[in-house]
Amino acid sequence: MSEFGEDKSADVELEDWLSQLCEGTLSPEDLRRLGEKIATDSAARRFYLEYLDLHAALGGQGAAVALPDLSRAEPLSVVEGTAGQHPRVRRWMR
């Protein structure tokens, strides 16, 4: 197989896998094949990172999580007015 980028069908297959991964519909078998691909192909690995980061940056179900329950950890001094705010999250939503 030629390198990723030169093989159109490989591009399409990788993009399909990544899209399904983002939507939670990727099969275990294709997840395994995706793992093999990004373990062995640096261009595919780079595309994977860019694709998933775009998905996560868009909001991707979890980028803006609240602080976890820290009662299991050490006591803390609460800093007022910072929890739950993140200047980068959802700023394109105006």
Binding site: E15, D16, S19, L21, C22, E23, G24, T25, P28, L31, R32, L34, G35, I38, A39, S42, R45, R46, Y48, L49, E50, Y51, L52, D53, L54, H55, A56, A57, L58, G59, G60, Q61, G62, A63, A64, V65, L67, P68, D69, L70, R72, A73, E74, L76, S77, V78, V79, T82, A83, Q85, H86, R88, V89, R90, R91, W92, M93
Partner: protein, 176 residues
């Protein structure tokens, strides 16, 4: 005020400021939102437990990424979903590349806002429902009467357009 308390306050501020970046790092290594959220919280707790021992004058993200990678490994080892995805060596490789490209991914993220703004109204509405209101594709299909398969394809096309737009912006700025 003791030094540990002071470190806790600094850590809280750093965490609030950086947790979205840490989430994106984790999501690259464990690409499932629920698992990535679990790991994000575990990472926060792990950092918290070591708060008094951390040197928070040093850059925070490399420190947080190190803690996060440990938590990713723990989650992966107990979660059958990831058994066939990446072995230790591949995970380590991916983690290193993710950290090395963080600044570039950050530049891409900065460009993304403008690209989202350029989407047409229908696509923007779909992005808003899916990514901001966190509606699933079947829920959007129910609400809009659009076909589920069409919506999946539309989201894939939108992500492809956004990637191309981001690439074009970064090329124009000479970043890539």
């Amino acid at each position: 005020m003791s030094e540990a308390e002071s470190n806790s306050e600094v850590l809280l501020r750093l965490w609030v400021r950086n947790q979205a970046d840490v989430y994106r790092y984790i999501f690259a290594l464990l690409p499932n939102a629920a698992d990535a959220q679990d790991v994000l919280q575990a990472t926060c707790v792990a950092l918290w437990r070591k708060a008094s021992q951390l040197d928070l004058n040093r850059p925070f993200l490399p420190l947080a990424f190190r803690f996060a990678l440990l938590e990713v490994r723990k989650n992966r080892d107990k979660n059958r979903r990831w058994a066939g995805f990446l072995d230790d060596s591949a995970l380590k490789n991916l983690a290193r590349q993710r950290e090395e490209t963080h600044d570039l991914l950050e530049a891409r993220r900065q460009a993304l806002d403008g690209c989202v703004a350029k989407l047409g109204p229908t696509d923007r509405d779909l992005v808003e429902r899916h990514y901001q209101r966190l509606l699933t594709v079947p829920e959007i299909a129910d609400a809009t009467g659009r076909n589920i398969h069409t919506l999946y394809k539309a989201l894939q096309r939108i992500r492809r357009q956004l990637l191309a737009c981001v690439n074009a912006n970064l090329e124009a700025e000479g970043i890539i």
